[in-house]
């Protein structure tokens, strides 16, 4: 891909000034790139940035505080960077942000389901992008899939596919696929009565193994080793293998991310048990949007509503209650 080569050149040029550059490189499976930490310009040829560059590199930035590093960002990754900046968790002068026009990323789970009668995703030998399709090499030969059938849902509703605040933008900016996030997924879910929704979550959470990949993949889950989920003193969550406690943790995560979550979807993607935990976060994002007219990670002058206090919120007229 031409963009990829341009990015490789840009990375080579920028690397001498930087501690490292975070992007993507080949992963252990055809359908996913792995995060790549480039330190040596000679390795830049393995750099990838495309449909399989799913991981959000913003996650790693706070670890490098105080060192100047480069980071390649898709539109959603850039929002995470924006929110980290806004909260003072990283410093702008420590970053060299490289943007490129993201045309969406794969949802490997969707692809796995579509190819299930041919092979497992882990049996694919290789895959490449070809315009609006991807061409996959399976054990019984090559076949292709349309990108739109395997693209992540978050990309379909993404309003900001081009990094907003980049030091360098490689390629042409593209128009978003959507003009408004209407939270159609939530609206559909909320058709069901409350008991049914609770039953849904109990069933989904019954698979949870408490690995906390959902938490550790979240660029804005910043408590890290101090998380309430594992705190012993006080001991907030039981060690018993109970569904309620597992759901309780998800609700804690969602509440702590209210007004901070950018909808990058990494929590849900990281979950090895395929639990749709993003939906809970979206429920709170929608509420924050309605109540505070705020979307995380976009407006560098904005203030995350739950990190501030106003005597009276313009959209919550409690004095009229």
């Amino acid at each position: 891909m031409a963009i990829e080569q341009e990015l490789q050149a840009a990375v080579k040029a920028a690397l001498p000034e930087l501690d490292c550059i975070i992007g993507w490189g080949p992963g252990p499976d055809a359908l996913r790139d792995a995060p790549l930490f480039l330190r040596d310009a000679a390795d830049a040829d393995v750099l990838r940035a495309g449909f399989f560059s799913v991981n959000n590199p913003a996650l790693f930035l706070p670890e490098y505080k105080g060192r100047k590093i480069g980071v390649l960002v898709k539109g959603c990754d850039a929002r995470s960077v924006g929110q980290l900046l806004l909260e003072g968790l990283v410093r702008r002068e420590d970053l060299f942000v490289i943007g490129f026009p993201c045309s969406g990323v794969i949802d490997a789970g969707k692809a796995a389901a579509l190819i299930a009668d041919r092979c497992e995703a882990g049996e694919l030998r290789s895959v490449r992008e070809q315009g609006d399709s991807i061409v996959l090499e399976g054990p019984d030969g090559a076949f292709s899939l349309a990108k739109k059938d395997v693209r992540a849902d978050k990309c379909e509703r993404c309003l900001f596919p081009n990094a907003m605040d980049a030091d360098l933008f490689v390629g042409e900016k593209r128009a978003p696929f959507a003009e408004l996030d209407e939270y159609a997924d939530l609206a559909a879910f909320e058709q069901a009565p409350l008991e049914e929704r609770m039953a849904f979550w109990e069933k989904e959470m019954s698979r949870c193994i408490r690995c906390y990949a959902c938490r550790d993949a979240c660029p804005l889950c910043v408590c890290r080793d101090q998380c309430v989920a594992v705190a012993r003193d006080p001991h907030w969550l039981s060690q018993a293998d109970g569904i309620r406690d597992k759901l309780f943790f998800q609700i804690i995560h969602a509440s702590h991310l209210a007004g901070r979550c950018t909808g990058c979807g990494e929590c849900e993607r990281a979950c090895p048990m395929g639990i749709p935990v993003l939906l809970l976060k979206r429920a709170l994002s929608r509420r924050v949007e309605t109540l505070f007219a705020y979307r995380a990670g976009i407006d560098m002058q904005g203030r995350p509503p739950l990190l501030t206090f106003s005597l009276e919120e313009p959209r919550i007229k409690e004095r009229d209650w």
């Binding site: 995060p35 193994i209 690995c211 080793d225 060690q239 018993a240 293998d241 090895p272 048990m273 395929g274």
Partner: protein, 366 residues
Amino acid sequence: MSDRSFTPAFISFKALSGWLRALAQKATVHAPRREGRAVVYRELGDGQGLESFLRPTESAKHVLFPRSEALFSFQRQGEAAGAASGKIRLQEPEGEGPAIIFGALSCDARGFLSFDPVYDGCGTAQAVGGIAKDPYYLRRRANTSIIVRACKSALNTCFCHWVGGGPASTEGADLLATDLEGGLLLSPCSEAGAALLEHPDCVPALPEQIAAAAALHAAAERSLGEAPPAGELAASRAALLALFENSEFWQRQSAQCLSCGACTYLCPTCYCFNITDESNGIAGARLRSWDSCMSALFTLEASGHNPRAAKAARLKNRVGHKFSYYPAIHEGRFSCCGCGRCIKSCPSSVDIRKIVLAAIKEAAHV
């Protein structure tokens, strides 16, 4: 091969659920089931989709080593409850009955072989005749039969052949099931496995069915990726020790790691646990629950000091334990069965194979 002394049987897919249901009369049967994007073990139920080969996302270790279990419960007694002098009544949990794991992968069965020495007298073996036995694990171990379903093909992340396994390995299995046209060939690998075949629908297998299964096993073997030359992997033991102080190496290897617990919790050979007393008022329980060396709390000391404060030190432990410290005290056996789950399900694509090979290479250079 041990199955020479046992007679293989054939069961048609039509009869499969009836047979398992009959087994479920006497034991709890755990079998893979697709749920959403994951494949999990569930107790046998309707619509389990037993006819198709499913590769479980999680390992089967929770059957013998539950995610959380009460070692005992306690309750303060009588009027003095709450007073320091009050008596405390302890109660052992009720043990479960026998269990059968149907549809385990061959690596899952081999995974328990890494558990066994640890829970059966480890560390006390020579000195005091192996008294440090874990009755909870050992009781379940003795009570559980494992029916392995041979893999039809390997995934990119599979490397069982690096560590002595294979898609149709019978090590640790009681019965080996192979998917044939119309049904499963069931080859017993133990007395317990042979006993499971005492059912009218398990009919003696035809010679051509046995031959077909052998051909499928060979084909699955061929689908595995390249392995390092025989014996080369054993160098990991010394290499990982030599790199113990090389923090630069471990920082590079762990850069992409999130320090979550997905790898260790899905791993068939990770056996670490934590113990917590949880009580409410005058009653409670002592819980044992899974723990992970990738977690900061794993080594946090009461003083507040943490010898593994950084994720680099934690990843070093995970890899070092499996490919150096464990084999050093367990006759060279790696505590890794090569199932590849930690690679396949790692949200950040950390590849333990690459780390081990990089360590061998790096140590050779110094």
